[in-house]
């Protein structure tokens, strides 16, 4: 049986969703790294158990095709104006239907996780692990070559409660 992987046809839905969930000041969020964003999204998706992947794809299709059920006319989500898309997303996030809320939570988690794992976004928020790591590796070399480690507390203090 062929393994269910992240379908390219769903990319526009996620693009539209990402624009609502994580817009930068100038709305440039995905430009420049959209391909990488979807690549990573696909990698996470492909690791999920089959039952999740299947449910996820049908959930997304439902999310995309049925704004009409939430009073947003006959448009698909990926074709809604930015303002309407925002309202539609709010309806899923805060609506009365627990299933919709839970599904939305998962969707949101995946988009946010992938988005905030992008090195370009890290730059914006001031996270620079690469330099930090280099410093720490140097620090470790120095301590190791200098002989003894200086631990922060005497071992005797550390008893179990």
């Amino acid at each position: 049986m062929k393994r269910l992987t992240f379908p390219k046809s769903l990319e526009p839905v996620f693009s539209a969703l990402a624009k609502v969930l994580v817009p930068a000041q100038d709305d440039l969020i995905l430009e420049g790294f959209e391909a990488h964003f979807f690549f990573n999204f696909g990698r996470i998706f492909n690791e999920l158990p089959p039952i999740f992947r299947w449910g996820f794809i049908w959930g997304i299709r439902f999310f995309d095709w049925f704004p009409v059920l939430f009073g947003f006319g006959l448009n698909r989500f990926s074709h809604l104006s930015f303002e309407s898309a925002k309202k539609y997303v709010d309806a899923w996030a805060n609506g009365r239907l627990g299933v919709c809320r839970e599904f939305f939570k998962t969707l949101k988690a995946m988009v946010i996780l992938v988005y905030f794992s992008e090195p370009k976004v890290w730059e914006v928020i001031g996270y620079a692990p690469e330099n930090h790591l280099k410093e720490r590796i140097e620090m470790r070399k120095k301590i190791l070559s200098g002989g003894e480690e200086k631990v922060h507390w005497p071992h005797e203090e550390e008893t179990n409660a």
């Binding site: 990698r43 690791e47 158990p49 839970e102 996780l113 905030f116 976004v121 790591l133 470790r140 550390e158």
Partner: protein, 508 residues
């Protein structure tokens, strides 16, 4: 010797004294201890072998995909649903854990003696096993140089309020606080089995098979005779070869979800009805404090302190910085301004969590086609405890000077002063409104003397199947209220010792 699915061209069919399934806290210890006693041991791991040099702290997604089961996206169904994480790589969850080490609390051992007849698990009798583990994985306090601001802020708040803290013991050899524990330590400072037990196992002549998922335990006349599995391509997930191992002793160490699932899949039932039940998870509430001062929580060691003042109530707390992708999940909001908010607070916040010694229970359900579902129902006592833990952390942050605190409640996600902490009690909150997560799964094959009450006997062997042992977190008869890796490793050391003492019983 290491055999990976990438190298195999034909099915594997081997015979050995001992086959160990799962190379995490329990499995790596069992494999090394038994191999060093001269037994031929094959260790099978579903995930891949990733070396310290391969850990890449600039690609969170890569780490999640390579090191975590389901890329970290696994949950327990209930009200609320709870996300949980477990490792799927050589070293299991220990490769991605924070490295906090605790001996089993005396009160827990006492409870296990009374309720489950585990009279040999006294602190005194467990001492040599803990000691051995502590030596091998280098359990000690953190280094002066590796201290970071977020732990100091937590301590500052706790000190102001007069709450007791514990300077953590961690398994490390000159950990300098790269603070990348959960995506694989890239400096080699952390000393998990990946760099301790596994190399020693290989040195003792053990054989490690990676990217191999065990599907079934082979059984004959209520005795285990080995395992059957498949070699899996890590990217396409296609089956590359079949694996059959014949062994005298079979040890299952797949973690508290996959172990009962594997036993059930193999047709094993427990007369106690406890197999797959009694899943404990140490539910975690994440609480975020925002400060005016720059903190840079990612610079320095993970959880230098824990607050232990409330340990008797079943709460311990600590701060633990995480990469931005995971950090951002703590916020209930989205949309306009999210990036700006992250810009404003990321380097000014403390990300803390409270661990709860739970009495709620979950269950592992085995489905056809090798699928597993887990459920967990938070009970009223644990919900109240989660609320209390959240309130305490918020209070500590404000005492330390926080200007804002983000809470894990859907309908109460921000408070701005110590006076507002009371809102946690005055707002109508329901369990479903609470965001929880877990990284400590336990129970499901509980240990005890009585086969009507437990799945395995005090040496870890199944009451109902001879030659079949469990040696991982699923052995725990109850939640333990402290970080569990050392207890798992000490129990595995003890089981290995008991097996080798009685080896003639199995070598028939």
């Amino acid at each position: 010797m290491i055999i990976d699915s990438g190298q195999v061209t034909k099915n594997i069919d081997e015979t050995c004294d001992v086959v160990v399934v799962g190379s995490g806290a329990g499995g790596s210890v069992m494999a090394k201890e038994l191999a060093e006693r001269g037994l031929s041991v094959i260790l099978i791991e579903e995930g891949g072998y990733h070396t310290v040099e391969s850990f890449n702290n600039t690609d969170t997604i890569n780490s999640l995909v390579n090191l975590y089961r389901n890329a970290g996206g696994t949950f327990l169904a209930g009200k609320p649903n709870v996300m949980y994480a477990e490792g799927c790589c050589v070293g299991g969850s220990t490769t991605i854990n924070g490295g906090m080490c605790w001996r089993t609390p005396d009160k827990i051992l006492k409870r296990w003696q009374w309720e489950f007849g585990l009279t040999d698990l006294t602190p005194k009798k467990m001492e040599p096993f803990h000691h051995r583990v502590e030596e091998i994985i280098s359990v000690k306090p953190v280094l002066q140089e590796s201290m970071n601001n977020d732990s100091m802020i937590l301590k500052r708040g706790a000190d102001k309020l007069g709450y007791q803290t514990r300077a953590n013991l961690r398994n490390h050899n000159t950990c300098v606080g790269a603070n990348q524990c959960i995506t694989g330590c890239p400096t080699g400072g952390k000393q998990p089995p990946l760099v301790t037990y596994i190399p020693a196992f290989l040195k003792a002549g053990g054989k490690l098979i990676t990217h191999c998922r065990v599907k079934k335990i082979r059984l004959k006349n209520r005795r285990a005779t080995g395992v059957k599995g498949v070699m899996i391509d890590p990217v396409t997930k296609a089956v590359r070869a079949k694996v059959k191992i014949r062994s005298k002793i079979t040890i299952v160490c797949c973690g508290a979800v996959q172990t009962p699932a594997l036993l059930m899949r193999s047709g094993i039932r427990s007369a106690s009805g406890a197999l797959g039940n009694n899943l404990f998870i140490h539910p975690n509430t994440k609480v975020l404090g925002v400060f005016d001062e720059p903190i840079y929580g990612w610079k320095g060691v993970n959880q230098a302190y824990q607050i232990t003042e409330f340990i008797d109530e079943g709460i311990i707390m600590g701060v633990n910085f995480i990469p931005p992708g995971i950090f951002a999940l703590a916020f209930p909001f989205y949309g306009g301004g999210f990036l700006n908010t992250m810009k404003e607070i990321f380097n000014h916040s403390v990300c803390g969590a409270a661990l709860i010694e739970d009495t709620s229970r979950g269950r592992v359900i085995n489905l056809p086609f090798d699928q597993v579902v887990t459920t967990y129902q938070l009970n009223a006592r644990d919900f109240e405890l989660a609320k209390r833990a959240t309130a305490l952390l918020a209070e500590i942050y404000f005492a330390a000077g926080a200007k804002r605190v983000y809470l894990p409640f859907r309908n109460l996600h921000e408070i701005n002063s110590i006076d507002e902490v009371r809102k946690i009690y005055t707002t109508q909150l329901k369990p479903i409104d609470l965001e929880l997560m877990s990284v400590h799964i336990m129970g499901t094959c509980r240990m005890g003397i009585n086969s009507q009450q437990s799945v395995v006997n005090p040496s870890g062997e199944l009451h109902d199947v001879k030659g079949l042992f469990v040696a991982d977190a699923s052995l725990f008869p109850s939640s333990i209220g402290v970080n569990p890796q050392q207890t798992i490793m000490a129990l595995a050391t003890r089981s290995a010792f008991l097996i080798s003492e009685n080896i003639s019983r199995y070598m028939i």
